[in-house]
């Protein structure tokens, strides 16, 4: 066994609470089970342990991290540890005073989600009047000198408006526009039939991005993440299980990947009971799909096994029932037909979208 590499990035999911209801949210379906959040002191310890373990970047995320009153304090702590910090927010709670506190605390980068170029489309998908709040937040963030990335998740209902989305990113003058297709796990898997675009939509949109890049020359820089269902090979999920990333969930559970709770039978250690260092190097859940020894054929003897690492474990489980199977998105997988079938399934009406709900009030 080669030595275990040290992680580079920590996803700090501060809370699952969120005022929005995006139907492709990556949070677990049983949100109410994880309401016992870590306190400030524990998060500070987690950040220090992460830095000592070799983490370079911390991504503060959620839920909506801005519901945590201690966010600026945690950012400042990360800064003191010389971690690079990035915040992903829906921005409806990003008032100028809050943004200013984050700036002073040393936040390095800001990602603001937007669901559609049109206010009605955005507000329908978030289940709240959020478009104008997001627009104002972008304006305020830029005013404070934050580098702003606008994050738009793509699917059947907004993909045809990709030009409008790019135009809007130009008008709002953001530094970067990230266009990433829905990943079909969690809420998005439940809503797959209503969210999956057609191949024609995907190809037309990809061409529109190429055209825009030519026209715009880097402002905004456009990052385009293609949907893996339409690719030949799976994406290099996590750059390999237990290799680069770790996630600490709101309740303190440490996950190799933010959606790993989808896989039954895995036991997740908790930062309340063990150090990040011992979890990263010794916990069975991090060893489970580390390296290449766990791989079945065709991955085991494939020359791409250290390029895409056999794809996504959560997706393999959701589509085949076996988390150790080759990701069926790969055209070499014997189970690839399950993906092809999903692509030709008749689309479900938008009305059938199941929005994220939380079954307790907090």
């Amino acid at each position: 066994m080669p030595p275990i590499p040290r992680p580079l990035a920590l996803l700090a999911e501060l809370t699952y609470r969120c005022p929005l209801k995006c139907p492709y949210c990556s949070n677990p379906l049983e949100l109410a089970r994880y309401r016992h959040e870590l306190d400030t002191a524990t998060w500070q310890r987690v950040l220090a342990e992460a830095a000592a373990l070799g983490v370079i970047q911390v991504h503060f995320s959620g839920g909506e991290p801005l519901v945590r009153r201690d966010l600026a304090e945690l950012v400042q702590h990360a800064r003191q540890l010389d971690l690079y910090s990035n915040l992903s927010t829906g921005a409806t709670l990003a008032d100028p005073a809050t943004l200013e506190r984050l700036k002073e605390a040393g936040l390095d980068a800001l990602q603001i989600s937007l669901l559609d170029a049109r206010p009605d489309g955005n507000d329908w998908l978030t289940g709240a009047a959020s478009f104008d709040k997001k627009r104002v937040a972008v304006e305020n963030a830029k005013h404070l000198g934050f580098p702003v990335t606008l994050n738009v998740v793509l699917h059947r209902h907004n993909l045809d408006r990709i030009e409008e989305i790019i135009d809007l990113a130009c008008r709002w003058d953001v530094d970067r526009l990230e266009l990433a297709h829905v990943q079909y796990t969690g809420w998005a898997f439940r809503n797959r039939a209503a969210l999956l675009p057609t191949r024609e939509q995907v190809e037309r949109a990809a061409e529109a991005v190429v055209q825009a890049r030519r026209r715009l020359s880097e402002r905004p820089a456009i990052l385009h993440v293609l949907p893996d269902y339409f690719q030949q090979y799976p994406k290099a999920c996590l750059h390999g299980w237990g290799r680069v990333f770790l996630t600490v969930a709101p309740d303190g559970a440490v996950l190799p990947c933010q959606t790993a709770r989808e896989i039954p039978g895995l036991v997740f250690p908790n930062v309340r009971e063990a150090s990040l260092e011992s979890i990263w190097f010794d916990a069975p859940v991090f060893q489970r799909f580390r390296g290449t020894d766990w791989m079945p054929e065709p991955c085991r003897s494939c020359e791409r096994r250290e390029i895409d690492f056999g794809g996504c474990r959560c997706q393999a489980f959701l589509l085949t029932g076996d988390p150790a199977a080759t990701d069926p998105v790969c055209h070499l997988s014997p189970l690839h037909p399950v993906v092809e079938r999903a692509l030709v399934e008749p689309p479900r009406e938008a009305a059938a979208l199941q929005f994220r709900v939380i079954t307790h009030s907090s």
């Binding site: 580079l8 070799g54 370079i56 970047q57 934050f146 580098p147 990335t149 530094d175």
Partner: protein
Amino acid sequence: MSSAIRRPVLVPHARYRWDKLRQQHQLVFPEGILVLNEPGAAIVQRCDGRPLAELLVALGEQFPDANLGEDVQGFLERLARKGLLRDATDS
């Protein structure tokens, strides 16, 4: 795009840091980390919008034995292609 960069400046989301644990110079940005060698680190730390000529003078003082001129331009262009650097004269 191919014209020479005259006043190199790092984009605001790129930050230089020294990694004590790994004993590495790094340029960090939201999607990744670029490991830099000594001259690379010295260049990046001076990409603050000053004229390239000034930057080269400072480099020459730090690395008197190396002839870095052309390499510097190539290095800056690679960073620009990755979206990590801009020419301050453009904006």
